[in-house]
């Protein structure tokens, strides 16, 4: 008999608004406590202390406009947050400070989450949807200099970029960008040439989320449809459909592959979180707790694998934390 689906390890309440994005920072050693950042619809970024399971600080920097992407630059003290006020803020959180030290004005009205890639010590690339609708701009951080702007061919009718994923094969090698578009296609961009290398139509609907495993050269994307699309990148840098995984209910708002590339989690509009084995897309568990659409899923970066957690943020204002290491 299969085990009954697990309960959340615990649930974080108190954002008092729908949760749109989550990011763990748990790699620190004692006495640093594990932290979860959450961005919510009311424009706050909450810093959760996972030891006391309470909000340590609430950062208000996006004029009460929804925050839909948070990410740290290396340490937990430097945080990037992206909000619907068209700004990306860099926070300084060291020693109890809560100030915005820098910000980028994106002028983009969409809700495409940025993607961050560390290319060298103290140097990052950040891909973000640009001012003109179909473009993606890549900036270098912390200098904020524009590396390139990726424009689709004229007449491609891709629509807005919906989701971005910067990646490189191994550190030091050339960075690539995968972008999912409104028309359901995923495009692989070469950053140095600023050229689209390959385009694959994965979905009929806008691509809501994608993630890519550079080791297996395989990626996955989800849309508002009832399918997950798994595609691979061959040696000729061509994207091809690998598999289509059918779902019971439609709508995927977020997909994350765990850092060990063994499992992945999806956030469903059907209020459920689904866990799959990444190798064969074997369904492992359906985590049912939320009472509204799940907006985001995130795996923690604990050093000790057994401590690792999965967090999911939902429209019902709650963040559920799951310990699924033993279940996989």
């Amino acid at each position: 008999m299969a085990l009954p689906p697990p309960d959340p390890e615990f649930v974080l309440r108190g954002t008092s608004a729908a949760v749109h994005t989550l990011h763990f920072s748990c790699a620190g050693q004692e006495p640093d406590f594990p932290i979860l950042f959450s961005g919510s619809e009311n424009g706050f970024v909450h810093v959760w202390n996972l030891k006391t399971r309470r909000v340590d600080t609430a950062l208000d920097g996006h004029g009460r406009k929804s925050v839909y992407w948070v990410e740290t630059l290396d340490a937990k003290d430097r945080l990037l947050s992206q909000g619907r006020d068209q700004r990306i803020c860099l926070w300084d959180l060291a020693e109890g400070r809560t100030s915005v030290t820098d910000s980028v004005f994106t002028e983009n009205v969409g809700f495409c989450r940025c993607s961050l890639l560390k290319v060298a010590q103290g140097r990052w690339l950040m891909a973000m949807a640009a001012k003109s609708l179909e473009e993606v701009q890549v900036l270098e951080l912390p200098s904020k200099t524009s590396v390139c702007t990726l424009k689709p061919e004229v007449g491609a009718k891709l629509g807005m970029p919906m989701c971005l994923k910067l990646w490189q094969l191994d550190s030091g090698s050339q960075p690539w960008l995968l972008a999912g578009y409104e028309d359901g296609s995923v495009i692989l961009w070469n950053l140095s040439m600023g050229k689209a290398l390959s385009q694959l139509v994965c979905h009929q609907e806008p691509v809501m989320s994608l993630d890519f495993d550079s080791e297996k050269a395989k990626g996955i994307s989800g849309s508002s449809e009832k399918v997950l699309s798994i595609w691979s990148l061959n040696e000729q840098q061509n994207l091809q459909v690998h598999k289509i995984h059918k779902l019971v209910n439609s709508g995927i708002s977020d997909i994350t592959i765990r850092s060990d590339k063994k499992i992945l989690a999806t956030a469903g509009w059907d209020h459920r979180i689904r866990i799959f084995g990444w190798k064969k897309m074997k369904p492992l568990a359906v985590l049912d707790y939320h009472t509204a659409t799940v907006h985001c899923v995130s795996f923690s970066d604990h050093r000790n694998p057994t401590e690792r957690l999965l967090a999911a943020g939902s429209k019902d204002h709650r963040i559920s934390i799951w310990s699924i290491y033993t279940q996989t």
């Binding site: 009954p4 697990p6 309960d7 959340p8 390890e9 615990f10 649930v11 309440r13 108190g14 030891k51 006391t52 399971r53 309470r54 707790y289 009472t291 204002h317």
Partner: protein, 1061 residues
């Protein structure tokens, strides 16, 4: 007073008597001398000392039998001379000494006290005593030469004989005192202290007497208790003084390895001399150990405290002086000391503590491995014997045994770990504790005492007491002080011992067997308290205070174990409502802490062997664990806040338990936690940690087996908090409701309890805004229940009835053509119409409901579904909840009315065709609803309910009229009463029409009959009050009916004159 100051004068005065005495040794002559001596000054006498002594000594020396009386007076005279003078010559001293000694034993029977009178013996002893005091310095030392050894020995043996064998107390004491002087250990301050060599020499000499002295003294000490404590005390003192002198480490260390060769003429004496070499000291120590054992055994239980005190001194003295030589005896000595630490007598106790303290301070034990070994050996043997002793001894015996145990532990101090590291020792010790601490679980009351208050009353949070331990009853002892000792034992263990080791061991026992679980939990609690240094009484500080992280670690692991499902959800009652769920949980092995509750639900299996004993045990188990949590909180203080994450939920769960003892203990624990974590009040604690609790509730609601617990936690939260909690728990209340939606069948009763608490809390919190009318309604209801109030109302009622008829008369006149005068009628004091519903303004707009009202509405929604539950208990509960819902929703008419509309059909069913109990409650709900909804219900009431009610009243009337006094206790009566009481106001509130009122009046009329029970009559009477308004029409009918039906006028109502009309 002295008359003769100069030697010349004195000589002149004394000479004649001396001469006479020399000539004739008679008692009279001695007496004469004695009398003269009184008149001679001390300096003068000193000059004439030998001269005066001569005739006296001569008198003693005269051969042949002597009169005892003479000897006695001579001896007394000698001692009075000696008392006033000094002996300055060695020869004189020795001669006098031997002469006096001879007085006691005639030369014929050496070493055997002659059959002399007691007075004489006493006189001689005192003379000897005086002699020793009149000799100074070198003179006295001359007595302590090897050459005088035989003489000394003679004296010592004589005195010992007296001390042991005499009957008279005085002689015994004097003999012992004299011996004390003889060994140069007199208490008085006049003596010069011996230098090292002198002491060494004396030591060598006394070593020869040691066997005799010690054996005799030990006999005296252990002798008959009736001899009086002074003798025992002096004997003990003498014993330790001589032993301390001879066996002194200092002296023994200076004894040369080989015996000195003495000159030839001394060779005979040298045979008597003892060489205190290592062999000798070893064998002597062995023998002394035996004696010491005896002495300790008898003295430590001596009834007089001074003896005990002296024993403490003995230990102190020997521990100080003979640390090495007498190490073998230490186990006995320490045992004595340790056993006396908790003596009833405070002086003994204090001195004992001082001595222990000094021992501890000198680190005699801590740094002396041998001693530590001795102690741990003692401890081990004690622990081995402990279970047996606990079985056989009475409380007093147990007390002293445990005092001993505690004392050993205290003395061992940091060295406890040597003992604990030995598995055998730890095992023995823990097993002993397990046995002693076994609880008495036979009390049935513990299981039976239920918390009934949960249904209605709200405990005011102010009167909570600090969580003090519940009084426990043990199998093997009853006295509280025994328990306190045990507590101390555990705390001292925790204070000095290796915490990890101890916690690990006792946790092992905890999990090993149900038999040990309660005891080991108790021990663990105390260990932690001890480790933190709370309430421990120790002799010396430990070197390093406990590491807070270690402590926290231990506490966390214990806490996890305590709140583990298997140890937390125990069966404590056979209440059918609870058992099923408790059972199903018990088998899964996961922690109860929220978030990790993943038990699979098992089918409840009823255990036929579940005895009261087991349940009582389980209750205690939970209480002890709860107390433990309180104790941990106190230990960690604010650091405990972090643990609230896992600890608070289970404690609240137990605070809502139905077993009185458990819920009380849990409340105590909560208060402890409040204090430890510095929260101002229980409310603060709950409110500030509501996120943890809500999380736990929400997660546990997902598990069928945990739903009752989750609801219990919410229940407790609501009960003990205030309105500020509402926004924090709203979220989870929705969870509760949605869970309820999923399981109407089996869990309804569990959730109804929460819904009830919720609504009751809402009524309480928003009471003022929920209309005062309700309050009044309720108070009116209350009032009607109290007798005095009833009588008062009855009075009023009579007047009202009278007025009613007067009115009727006038009305009739009006009808016959007299002027109608409505103003007049108003002025007559007819009660005005029921006030229009307040808060009508609310009904205007579609303003969003405040959250509490929304909740009430949501709950009401569920009530509609549950009103037709199969289970009567559920239905009753639902009706209660419904009433509260109506009260809360009251100010929001435009929400209440649609709800009332939806509730109506289900409610009517309850009113018309249900168990009388349900009808009763339903009627109450109806009354409340009518109060709130007013005429909204009129039509429905008159159509659906009233006919049925009226007809049931009518049909019941004959039954109640015939019934005896027992009827008052039947359900049918209560129903009648309730309906009669409620009907009038109901009609008024609903503004009923004429025909309906007629029906009511008809139904009520029968109850005015004197045959009906009093209460029903009164209730029916009062109803007519409410009919005042449509007075003309109804009164005619009523009066008409009455005159027809009431052939027998009621006796209680004085037949008024107007009936003639």
């Amino acid at each position: 007073m002295a008359v003769f100051d100069t030697p010349q004068e004195a000589f002149g005065a004394l000479r004649p008597v001396c001469v006479q005495l020399t000539k004739a040794q008679t008692w009279e002559n001695v007496a004469q001398l004695q009398a003269r001596l009184g008149a001679v000054s001390a300096p003068a006498l000193q000059e004439l000392q030998e001269y005066v002594l001569f005739p006296l000594r001569f008198a003693l020396k005269v051969p042949g039998p002597k009169q005892e009386r003479l000897v006695q007076s001579v001896v007394q005279c000698i001692s009075s001379v000696l008392a006033a003078t000094c002996v300055k010559k060695q020869e004189l001293l020795q001669e006098l000494f031997s002469e006096l000694c001879t007085c006691l034993s005639p030369p014929s029977a050496l070493n055997k006290p002659a059959l002399l009178s007691e007075e004489l013996k006493l006189a001689v002893i005192q003379a000897l005593h005086t002699l020793m005091h009149s000799a100074y310095g070198d003179v006295i030392l001359s007595l302590y030469q090897p050459s005088t050894l035989p003489l000394l020995g003679f004296a010592v043996s004589l005195l010992l004989g007296l001390a042991e064998q005499e009957k008279a107390k005085q002689i015994k004491i004097s003999a012992l005192k004299c011996l004390q002087v003889l060994i140069l250990q007199c208490d008085c301050q006049e003596h010069r202290h011996l230098d090292e060599d002198g002491a060494q020499q004396c030591g060598d000499l006394f070593a020869s007497f040691l066997p005799g002295v010690s054996i005799t003294l030990s006999r005296v000490i252990t002798g008959d208790i009736k001899q009086g404590h002074t003798i025992t005390v002096s004997a003990i003192r003498l014993f330790y003084q001589i032993v301390g002198l001879v066996m002194s480490d200092e002296q023994l260390s200076r004894v040369p390895k080989n015996k000195e060769k003495l000159s030839v003429e001394q060779s005979r004496i040298s045979e008597l001399m003892i060489h205190r070499g290592p062999d000798w000291s070893k064998s002597t120590a062995e023998k002394l150990t035996l004696l010491m054992h005896k002495i300790v055994e008898s003295s430590s239980v001596h009834p007089h405290w001074k003896v005990k005190l002296e024993l403490v001194e003995l230990v102190h003295h020997l521990m100080k002086n003979c640390r090495q030589s007498l190490v073998d005896s230490f186990s006995h000595l320490l045992k004595a000391l340790v056993g006396l630490v908790n003596d009833e007598n405070s002086e003994v106790q204090n001195r004992c503590n001082e001595v222990l303290q000094s021992i501890a301070e000198q680190r005699i034990v801590a740094e002396n491995r041998a001693l530590a070994d001795v102690l741990s050996e003692n401890l081990h043997s004690l622990a081995t014997a402990l279970p047996r002793l606990m079985n056989s001894q009475d409380d007093q015996g147990k007390f002293s045994t445990l005092s001993l145990l505690l004392g050993y532990l205290k003395l061992l101090g940091p060295k406890i770990n040597i003992v604990l590291n030995s598995v055998a020792h730890l095992h023995r010790l823990s097993k002993a504790l397990m046995q002693v601490l076994e609880l008495d679980v036979t009390d049935v009351k513990i299981v039976e005492d239920r918390r009934w208050g949960s249904e209605s009353s709200y405990e005011p949070s102010g009167c909570l007491q600090k969580g003090k331990c519940q009084k426990k009853y043990f199998r093997f002892f009853t006295e509280e002080k025994v328990f306190q000792l045990l507590q101390q034992v555990c705390r001292v263990l925790g204070y000095y011992g290796n915490l990890y080791l101890l916690v690990d061991h006792f946790m092992g026992l905890y999990t090993e067997s149900v038999m040990y679980r309660k005891q080991s939990a108790m021990v663990l609690n105390e260990l932690i308290a001890g480790a933190a240094g709370v309430g421990v009484d120790v002799l010396h500080e430990r070197e390093d205070s406990v590491n807070m992280d270690d402590l926290k670690g231990s506490i966390t692991s214990i806490l996890d174990e305590y709140t583990d499902q298997a140890n937390w959800y125990l069966i404590t009652s056979i209440d059918t409502e609870e058992v099923g769920t408790e059972f199903s949980v018990q088998h899964s092995e996961l922690p109860a802490s929220p978030g990790s509750a993943r038990s699979s639900v098992l089918i409840p299996s009823s255990d036929p062997h579940l005895s009261t004993r087991t349940m009582n045990g389980n209750i205690w188990q939970i209480c002890i664990q709860l107390e433990g949590i309180g104790c941990f909180a106190a230990v960690l203080g604010k650091d405990f806040r972090l643990l609230l994450l896992s600890a608070l939920y289970p404690v609240l769960e137990k605070a809502g338990d139905k077993t009185l003892l458990i819920s009380e203990t849990a409340m105590g624990t909560l208060v402890d936690i409040c204090e430890a974590c510095s929260y101002d009040s229980l409310q603060c604690l709950i409110n500030e940690n509501s996120d943890y609790l809500v999380n736990g509730i929400s997660l546990n609601l997902r598990q069928l087996a945990h739903q009752p617990h989750a609801s219990r936690v919410l229940d407790t939260m609501l009960r003990h908090s205030d309105v500020s909690l509402l926004p924090l728990v709203e979220d989870v209340i929705q969870d509760v409701l949605s869970t309820l939606d999923q399981s109407y069948d089996n869990q309804a009763s569990t959730f109804l309890r929460v819904l009830y608490s919720l609504m009751a809390a809402l009524v309480q919190w928003f009471g003022t805004s929920c209309s005062e009318e309700h309050q009044q309604g309720q108070t009116a209801e209350w009032r009607s229940r109290t007798l005095s109030q009833v009588q008062q109302q009855q009075l009023v009622t009579r007047q009202e009835v009278e007025r009613f008829f007067l009115d009727y008369v006038r009305q009739k006149q009006i009808a016959e053509g007299n002027l109608p005068d409505t103003d007049d009628e108003e002025a007559d004091g007819v009660p005005p119409l029921a006030k229009p519903e307040p808060n009508n303004s609310d009904t205007e707009g579609e303003t969003p409901l405040p959250s509490h009202a929304q909740l009430a509405k949501d709950v009401m929604e569920r009530c509609i579904h549950l009103l037709s539950d199969r289970n009567l208990r559920v239905r009753l509960k639902v009706l209660d909840v419904l009433e509260l819902c109506v009260t809360v929703l009251h100010p929001h008419g435009n929400h209440l009315l649609p709800m009332a509309h939806r509730v109506w059909p289900a409610l009517v069913t309850r009113l018309i065709s249900d168990d009388p109990l349900a009808v009763l409650r339903a009627f109450k709900v109806l009354c409340t609803l009518a109060q709130k909804c007013g005429d909204f219900l009129r039509q429905r009431f008159s159509k659906d309910v009233l006919p049925k009610l009226a007809s049931s009243l009518l049909s019941q009337a004959p039954a109640s009229a015939r019934a005896g006094p027992v009827y008052n206790h039947t359900l049918a009566f209560k129903l009648q009463l309730a309906v009669l009481q409620g009907l009038g106001s109901l009609c008024e509130k609903l503004d009923m029409g004429e025909s309906d009122l007629n029906k009511v009046a008809d139904a009520c009329l029968i109850y005015l009959s004197a045959k009906q029970p009093m209460k029903l009559q009164e209730a029916a009477q009062r109803n007519f009050l409410f009919f005042n308004k449509p007075i003309c029409s109804i009164s005619v009918t009523a009066a008409h009916n009455w005159s027809q039906k009431c052939e027998v006028p009621t006796q209680k109502l004085n037949p008024p004159s107007y009936l003639a009309y």
